[in-house]
Amino acid sequence: MREFLWLVPLLPLIGSVTLMLGAGRLTMRLAGTIGAVSVGLAAILAFTIAAGFLTNPPAGSVYQQTLWHWLNVGGVSATFGLRLDPLSLVMMLVITGVGFLIHLFATEYMEGEDGYGRFFAHLNLFVAAMLLLVLADNFLALYTGWEGVGLGSYLLIGFWWRDPANGLAARKAFIVTRIGDTALFLGLLLITSHLGTLNIADAMQHATQSWPIGSPIATLAAFLLLGGAVGKSAQLPLQTWLPDAMVGPTPVSALIHAATMVTAGVYLIARTHALFLLAPAALLTVGIIGGATLLLAGFSALAQNDIKRILAYSTMSQIGYMFLALGVGAWDAALFHLMTHAFFKALLFLSAGAITMRLHHEQDIFKMGGLARRLPVAFWSFLIGSAALAALPLVTAGFYSKEAILSGAWAGGTSGRVLWLAGVVGAFMTGLYIFRAVFIVFFGEEHGHVSGRYGWRITTPLAVLSVLAVLGGLIEVPPVFGHVTLLSNLLAPVLPATKEVTDITPLLLASLAALLGIALAALFYWRPTQRPAETPLWRFWHAAGGFDWLYNRVLVRPVLWAARVNSDDFIDSFYDVIAWATKAIHQQVRRTQNGRVRWYTAGLAIGSVSLIAIAVLL
């Protein structure tokens, strides 16, 4: 089956193209079917291939498929090739699996929307690009996917194009990530120039052979790639676009801005871990960025009133965990958390979507309340998702993955311990902010009359994801609880092994922190509460540390100012001056032609005197 690997990204692409060409002509039902089925088929294919891969792994656990020779010029060659190894396998499964569920959800969620077909066209396009990103065997194809998902994200954030604010958010997302992408692009140039290949595996191998650990060039390359990663994954300092991106339809937020695209940075670093291992400084930076982001986002999430923005900050925070894991070398933990996060965060977004679709897209949690009884499906899904997010010990997938990260950090020396502390604080904050949302939304007073039943296309994904959010963690269980290592075994060929941690202290402390957070949330928000007062501190965290403010002042406004001031191109005025001067000279010289014969004679005489003088005297 695995020779059909190329079909996995192609199927959604075909769906996308079909939908684009048929835009305006397909019925809503047909469009939804095409959209969901193309991803569904890709998912089935992906799982089939995965089954084949697991039962009968190829040599070296890598399956390479070259589709065509893309370019071969001046010593640089790139194929359009796919590479299936455990890492991309996991990613592929998450993308197609979660992707399909979200598509299914969206077919019902988006019903009646103007541009229904366009929505699925773009969503399919996104899935295709994301699959290309993870399956690419070379940097160029990876970058193509990388930009492709950016495009998909842009298109979908701005899906409701009539509102200029959506357009602004979409452009912000694209441009801010593009800044990171440019760093990645430069990294590509650096790697290609110095390692002579665009193939990722070859490049990593060359790098390990030719660059010593800590060499400046390796560090630079790693930092450039990191630039790309922080952009896509909304980490400091390029995190500002993510909360704004929530103006897109909720399935989009679930798929792109929670489950898949934003984890591309994690994938990239994992994919190029060999390079990061050569650059300890860069790796440490990854961890620090992760730690800082998870704290910042955690505090910010607490100061949000919009349910999707809470989830957005939580996404940022959770990806911070993944970065932290990468930073401390807990590679499989990062991947593990990526996977479980995809489950529970998709679940959270979808259930949030399920709620808001019954509330005329009202997203302010203080305008909700008491929804537990009205919308039980959404309630239970959201609750399960929240529990997983808060890493409720033992019973949630989130617990196991977060625990893996924190133990990894614990084992990581002094810097690891510091990061571990950040992680623990973060775990506390996570419990606090998510259960704040849970209590405010589902308990307390009811506002207005809400009702409605969900169709199977909404309930099924919620159910499946709920199950995954609970049980998904059982593929990797720490030694204390039974020592399951399915995932790390799978990833062993491609990722370096993580140190085993048998110490139970970090585990206990982290669990305690999470529980404490939940308890605190219950304490504060069990009863109906007022909208929080806008104190300066609240505003600071509401604005997520004021990065937007800062960037606006330092970058955006100066550029806009320059563009506005110079919209007539001052260089042109230079030429205008020349033209003006010529005309002015013309006007002056023209006055000599006053028509008076005596004046003309004088001219003649002056000329004569001068010419004779030149001839005789010189």
Binding site: N594, G595, R596, V597, R598, T601, A605
Partner: protein, 102 residues
């Protein structure tokens, strides 16, 4: 006729030439300008005679004759033009004739 003052002759021609030029530049009446022009041409003629005298050759005088021819032709046409102008411009004011300009 020994000791012909050639240098002084040329000097005379030059002075007359300059005086003629002054006349053309200063006078506003076209008739006077024409007269001054004649002075300039005559000065050139004197120069030819002086030059001819230096080489004791007839060429100088022949050129003088041609200058004379030209001067006569010029005056005849010039006076005809002045007649024509007189109708629009009875004072023959040279400065008034600036319809063509710019």
């Amino acid at each position: 006729m020994a000791n012909v003052p050639l240098d002084q002759g040329l000097l005379l021609a030059a002075i007359l030439f300059a005086l003629g030029l002054t006349g053309v530049l200063v006078r506003r009446n076209l008739l006077f300008m024409l007269m001054s022009l004649e002075v300039m041409l005559n000065a050139a003629g004197i120069a030819f005679i002086v030059a001819g005298a230096r080489w004791a050759a007839p060429d100088g005088q022949i050129m003088f004759i041609f200058v004379l021819t030209f001067a006569a032709a010029e005056v005849s046409v010039g006076l005809a033009l002045i007649l024509l102008i007189h109708r629009q411009n009875p004072m023959l004011d040279a400065d008034a004739g600036d319809r063509l300009r710019g």
